[in-house]
Chain length 207, copies 2
DNA sequence: CCGAAACTGAACTGCCCGGTTTATACTGGG
DNA sequence: CCCAGTATAAACCGGGCAGTTCAGTTTCGG
């Protein structure tokens, strides 16, 4: 048995607590979530839960932190500078759209927005490990591509941010308002192609 | 005295209640708002408040409805088809940016996002009287301008939605995460100009 | 100036929920 | 087999808050 990993954070049920908390927080948000429900979902007593975390906020912060970390690793896959620039932009756009429309993306974002007023550090944490990080990666790729003469871009940071924003077209407002949560392949393709066309029209090197 | 208008909704203090409710809901959100505070802010007793509205949710829905209605009128000013197309697009972009960065825009949006899970009809209401309406107006303008040969657009609806989304670049993620709530004129100009440049590069008639 | 309707304020009910306590039981190493 | 650390269930506390009630006051049309 993996004695080391299981025991460092003294207490066998630490992971269960996190797991249960994630499930309930994702479903109900911070205010909406009920500690009794979390304990039940985790298959753990409330007393045990409170032996690990001093209060609900800290528990939530820990769940959010873990989630953001996980996300930042999975979402930003490497963009190969060698490939066709249009191809590369399309690849980035697809990754963005898939993330934005994922259950996880929707929920984390909703919670961050809802709670950032009463919970400022959370918003920053999410921004840094989400949008900001992605923007930096995209910016890196664009800088390389510009150096290679594929694009003509004055303000790389702006261009990166525009590309990211374009991929939310149509989708984002609908998700945030709860109008539509699932999008078909055709819908996504329309948005991705639209974003790529627009980006290339603006920034592709003319030569 | 304006007997008609004041009396239809039997009760002298109806407007006061709405006014107080708006103030508190804007400040604290739905869950965060406290009915006692609303009554106090409205200068009205709780009993009076409850004589107008059966419960907190209905009160909130009414406030939100009024706000959206008001917004839709003020934000979408008429776009003169006669003006230079670039000028017109710039005008639309500015209106969007100003709305998105306004206290009111920020709050309404935050509340809608936060509450749309437990309050589905609110999200729809907001979407219909906000994003959807604006998109339709922008679409109308674009259709006219296309007919006049100013633009070349296949999918007008997509183009309208892209323009709206582009105006949120940089600003929106920061607001929603609570990183930054106020934006200088220079920052706004950068976004607006970036959006206009991009839109024109993609859709302006080549002739 | 009368009387009905509107309004008041303050106390009260009932519920929910975060967090604590307690008394008991399980588990695993020495 | 023992004991110390860990887990549990359930009762409990206290505060906050939506919504109600009621006895008394204000407002205003007729």
């Amino acid at each position: 048995m993996n004695v080391i990993a299981e025991t460092i954070k003294k207490g066998r049920k630490f992971d269960q607590v996190i797991e249960g908390a994630r499930a309930i927080f994702m479903r109900d948000g911070f205010e909406g979530a009920n500690v009794d429900d979390i304990a039940k979902a985790a298959g753990v007593s409330k007393a045990t839960l409170y032996s690990y975390f001093p209060d609900k906020r800290v528990l939530f912060a820990e769940v959010a932190r873990q989630e953001c970390e996980r996300q930042s690793q999975s979402t930003i896959s490497v963009v190969d500078t060698a490939t066709d620039p249009r191809e590369a932009i399309s690849h980035i756009a697809w990754a963005m759209v898939e993330f934005v429309t994922s259950d996880f993306g929707i929920n984390v974002f909703r919670i961050c927005v809802a709670e950032s007023a009463r919970f400022p550090e959370l918003g920053c944490q999410f921004y840094d490990s989400g949008p900001k990080l992605v923007r930096e990666r995209v910016g890196e790729y664009l800088s390389c591509a510009v150096a290679q003469g594929h694009f003509e871009i004055d303000d790389v940071e702006l261009a990166a941010e525009q590309l990211m924003e374009l991929t939310k077209t149509y989708i984002f407002p609908r998700i945030l308002c709860g109008i539509q949560l699932k999008f078909s392949m055709e819908e996504k393709k329309r948005i991705v192609d639209g974003a790529v066309d627009m980006f290339m029209a603006r920034y592709a090197a003319k030569a």
